[in-house]
Point group: C2
Chain length 272, copies 2
């Protein structure tokens, strides 16, 4: 076994947030938005390029905004909301997106969501959530993650590939907190084309010793690199272009990054 | 509060592994190695640049190789080694570097090490561990993390700044596994100059809503980006140059990234 030779990271990576990307509304043609942004930055897509999209722009294009005024909170949501000091309708949305509650404390409600991502509030966002044409008196608004981010990524990939002829990867990202460490990092919640994991087991180190443990979270690290230039605030740099990774395109899913709960030492099991 | 305005991520990041970096031995002049590598790549350091060093090259320069033949394993180490199928002398080293055992399973021994980093085997590596002039019959060898990676980073930073006049950041990285997700990612175990966290609380989103939760793990994301070009295997690209982040240099520590166990929902506490 010689590791996964279908991926090569060169010695140089260029990570570039594309300027002028508008705030999109439901029904936006996301592939078109990316193509226009690339053209504006005079970037011609090449095979091996990766286009990174913040989940918020994908969610907005897919109309994943929810008016909390329309949400009816269950008894469970009311009980948790009292404990956490949150809006019970927001908690109701979180519970609907939850596969498994991971941890709850007065300061955090961490769940494994239906995509398998462990994060606060199931990844539902109270910022950047307002629709472009929200009726007066509506809201507050919440923004759910895309329904099926792998599919969203695949749709954008197909559009970009058919327009440009380049074989590319698309990564849809979210920013999440982590156990053990302060600060959020970008992770991949959807992928298309790009293998999310890079298996380097079987390669040898500087002295010929086999690397036993090294499977790199390629897509998560691309998401982290993109997060450095994307920004969270008003500048809204939701589309990032990454050049410098070579990979054999294939059918992949961000679920490859998700560790099943029964193989996880932290989601369920009590400390030893 | 308007967030931390002393950090600005531009819209473009260049991440470049420096070629021709030799395998170093104990006592190597690490600053000199970096300066030579930069010159070889025709890179002139500018203020705001970040130099990222894989912990393995720092450890090797600092002589952190240990010949397991010289290690006497305690009873506890023998007991754990039997359970895990590992060399008891290796487990002994892990225990010496451990502040707190986090999880133990037949497949993993995860601890919070004396640097506060939660990772398998306290970050001790069995690869890239052999000294350049190891006596015949010695070993097997293990490579400990640097004794004080913040200090190691500061020494390199001082050297590079005094030679070039640029105000730079230095990050020392390790690759670690994570709860919830497959694949390793680069994290920062030592920093100098660069603020490891980027506080964006108080900034506003696209609609003027305040960002409440957003503190970005700047140094960890730089480590992840660098890991994409550094490689783990024989190519040995242990020095990476990052350009595109602007920050106000200051005195910092990678410990700013470490969440204390009593504020952590995962290190100690049982699931709710």
């Amino acid at each position: 076994m010689n590791g996964d030779e279908s991926i090569v990271c060169g010695d140089r990576l260029e990570v570039r947030a594309l300027g002028g990307v508008p705030v999109v509304g439901a029904g936006a043609d996301l592939g078109g938005v990316v193509l226009e942004a690339l053209a504006r930055s005079a970037i011609t897509l090449e095979s091996g390029d990766v286009v990174v999209l913040a989940s918020k722009i994908v969610s907005r294009a897919e109309g994943r905004q929810v008016d909390l005024g329309t949400v009816e909170a269950s008894e469970e949501a009311h009980a948790i909301a009292r404990e956490l000091g949150k809006d019970p309708r927001f908690v109701e949305l979180v519970l609907r997106e939850t596969a498994e509650v991971s941890r709850r404390s007065p300061s955090a409600f961490v769940v494994k969501n239906r995509l398998g991502v462990v994060c606060a509030n199931a990844g539902i966002d109270g910022t950047n959530a307002r629709p472009l044409e929200a009726p007066p008196g509506s809201g507050p608004w919440a923004l759910l993650l895309p329904e099926d981010p792998d599919r969203s990524a695949e749709i954008v990939r197909n559009r970009l590939e058919s327009e440009t002829g380049a074989a590319i990867g698309v990564v849809i990202t979210d920013s999440v907190g982590r156990p053990f460490r302060f600060g959020t990092v970008g992770i991949a919640v959807g992928v298309a084309g790009l293998p999310p994991l890079w298996d380097q087991r079987g390669r040898v180190d500087l002295f010929g010793t086999r690397l036993e443990q090294t499977i790199t979270a390629l897509a998560d690290q691309i998401a982290a690199a993109a997060d450095l230039v994307a920004g969270q605030a008003a500048e809204g740099r939701a589309v990032v272009h990454v050049r410098g990774i070579r990979f054999t395109p294939g059918r992949h899913s961000a679920r490859e990054l998700v560790r099943p709960s029964d193989q996880d030492l932290y989601v369920r099991k009590a400390p030893s």
